[in-house]
Symmetry: C2
Subunit: 66 residues, 2 copies
């Protein structure tokens, strides 16, 4: 899941996105680094906070492939 | 998540997919109907068992839109 990449693309700090999603910043940090195993509900909450659909969280971006 | 649709598209029974993923059939059933809130790990396991990428689980198919 490319939470960090998408968060940074819209210029949000970890703290701002965590606030938006109602998560602790430390939990968001662990999600971003793969240290947490979020539920589908949590993933949907993050997608909403990022204003994207869940699918986009799993699409590998062109920039990553290049 | 469109687990049921993709499972049926490849002709797998609930039991067969549950076996493949190492889940109880009742748990898979609840995931399919939205009654369970699977973790990202569980979602990845299901995608692997369906031989698709996670992204595809969240793409709305053309047939659904038509």
């Amino acid at each position: 899941m490319r939470i960090r990449e998408l968060r940074q693309a819209i210029g949000l700090s970890q703290e701002a996105l965590a606030d938006q999603a109602g998560f602790a910043r430390t939990y968001l940090s662990r999600i971003e680094t793969g240290g947490a195993n979020p539920s589908l509900d949590a993933i949907e909450t993050l997608a909403t906070a990022l204003q994207i659909n869940v699918e986009s969280l799993f699409v590998v971006s062109k920039e990553t492939l290049e």
